[in-house]
């Protein structure tokens, strides 16, 4: 009985983690597409993980304290020459969340 219970819990944990990983992986793939193509972030930023070499804005691999929230904020509201992708409805909220997730998990890697 104990063994069955252990196996069931293990299976649950495995399935839960698999689902989370898949979701994150899907976000990373979609995020890269948004970064390089849909939003053209690559045209202005260096991000080694994306193979991008743009040089208008900061090199994202060098930005101090970069995290999901800070990327979301800047992508939404813009800064200087960078468009306000959220305020100006260039990207959807979902797209902003995904590309921010991608950048936050790729920068400096």
């Amino acid at each position: 009985m104990k063994i069955t219970k252990f196996l069931l819990i293990s299976l649950f944990i495995f399935l839960f983690n698999s689902q989370t990983s898949f979701t994150d992986e899907a976000k990373m793939i979609k995020g890269l597409e948004i970064f390089n193509e849909t939003a053209a972030c690559a045209g202005c930023h260096i991000l080694k993980a994306a193979g991008s070499e743009g040089n208008i804005g900061p090199n994202l691999d060098t930005v101090e304290g970069l995290n999901y929230a800070s990327v979301m904020d800047i992508v939404t509201h813009g800064l200087g020459v960078m468009p306000a992708f959220g305020e100006d409805e260039i990207l959807t909220k979902d797209q902003i969340e995904i590309v921010s997730f991608y950048v936050a998990n790729s920068a400096g890697k």
């Binding site: 193979g51 090199n59 960078m82």
Partner: protein, 414 residues
């Protein structure tokens, strides 16, 4: 959290498409327009001097002193508090970097003496090369170069942008020709002008829409009387990273108005309509924005301690020299007081070193004796009309911070 993808899967997604590149480079596409296109190539223009260089600095400033600098990003690099005040003039190798556009390369600049600047809104509009400007006049002056957002890192609402504390500022010796001399050579300013509007050309190689990318800044016309077209910075040809070969210097005005890679100066009846004038660099309440709010123009009176700080090592009990810098903004700094008890009591500090004029900062020192313990050290400057407030002026983007409390330092004496 680290996300790992299969190598082949990721490589497939790292595409380098080039369909939009031509439009981008030709300047026919705005950023918003590019965003709407299906694909875009990573752009390599001007990248040759911006890759990560030795010592963790970008190549275009690899000549700077890494130990004196805090790297917020490759385009936002701050001077350590303790690396700013040991001499009156800040050495070029220690001076901060804040660039809205990529620094122009030697190839893009070409022969520096042939660099052109046009003067408009005057009786006889003319275009001068640097060689011609050098025949018109020659002057050296000291001013403070300070980013509008210097001190942003103290704001509790964490405004977007580099989190500067004290190090987006420098005292610089500029050499060039007075703007007044140039204006006289052009027959004087047109009668209806209200602003002096300076435009850089560093956006040109990017191909971006000038309305969104051009650094064009208008300041009140009166600024021309003390302004300079500078080609030298602290005794060397103006480095590209600081706007070489020619930069507008607007004494007493925030850094953004000291336009780099200068291509045009016009005396205008209206403020420039580009984004960097109309929308950016506006001091607005938190949660609000717009061109109805004041632009980052005149710098306020300000000071800060540079030594001792938590950066300068163990402080031993006994006699201590408290050192700092003080500036008056557009007026001469008159006095500075120092507190070692968080502002409960103040003592007048002594100005030291030569006085390089009202637009330069003064170094100050207060000799005092400290026993073992913890101290909050603050400085408070006055220009006769205004003195530093205790608290920051809250604003959306974290501009123009001159409150003394945030700029104070906590030290431990042993």
């Amino acid at each position: 959290m680290m996300i790992l993808l299969g190598g082949s899967q990721m490589k497939k997604k790292i595409k380098k498409l080039n369909l939009s590149r031509r439009n981008f480079l030709a300047g026919t596409a705005t950023l918003a327009g590019i965003a709407a296109t299906a694909s875009v190539a990573p752009i390599t223009i001007a990248n040759a001097n911006h890759s990560e260089g030795k010592k963790g600095l970008p190549d275009f400033i690899s000549w700077k002193d890494r130990d004196a600098l805090i790297v917020h990003s490759d385009k936002g690099i701050e001077t350590h508090r303790s690396a700013i005040g040991e001499s009156l003039v800040t050495p070029n190798r220690n001076i901060y970097i804040r660039n809205n556009m990529p620094t122009m390369t030697d190839e893009q600049i070409g022969n520096r003496m042939d660099w052109k600047v046009s003067i408009e809104g005057v009786k006889n509009p003319k275009t001068f090369t640097i060689a011609q400007l050098q025949k018109l006049g020659h002057e050296t002056m000291a001013t403070i170069l300070q980013c509008s957002g210097n001190g942003r890192g103290f704001f509790k609402h964490k405004p977007r942008g580099s989190q500067w504390k004290t190090g987006a500022a420098a005292c610089v010796l500029w050499t060039g020709v007075p703007m007044k001399t140039v204006v006289d050579a052009c027959g004087g300013i047109n009668g209806d002008a209200v602003y002096m509007t300076s435009a850089g050309v560093d956006h040109v190689p990017t191909g971006l829409d000038p309305k969104k990318a051009m650094i064009e800044r208008s300041v009140p016309k009166k600024v021309f009387k003390d302004a300079m077209l500078a080609w030298e910075m602290n005794g060397v040809p103006l480095p590209n990273a600081h706007g070489g070969p020619l930069r507008m210097v607007t004494p007493g005005y925030f850094g953004i108005n000291n336009v780099k890679h200068l291509g045009k100066v016009a005396f205008t009846t209206q403020e420039s309509s580009v984004k960097y004038m109309k929308k950016s660099y506006r001091i607005s309440p938190i949660g609000k924005k717009g061109s109805q709010y004041p632009s980052c123009w005149e710098m306020p009176v300000k000071s800060w301690i540079t030594r001792p700080t938590d950066e300068t090592g163990t402080i031993k009990a006994g006699k201590v020299q408290i050192v700092g810098v003080a500036m008056g903004g557009t007026k001469k700094v008159r006095s500075v007081k120092v507190s070692v008890d968080g502002g409960s009591s103040w003592k007048k500090a002594k100005f030291i070193g030569p006085n390089l004029g009202k637009y330069a900062w003064r170094q100050f020192v207060l000799e005092t004796t400290l026993s073992a313990g913890t101290y909050n050290i603050a400085s408070l400057a006055s220009n006769g009309s205004d003195k530093q407030p205790e608290l920051r002026m809250e604003n959306r983007r974290g501009y123009a911070h001159n409150g003394w409390k945030d700029h104070s330092v906590n030290i431990t004496v042993v």
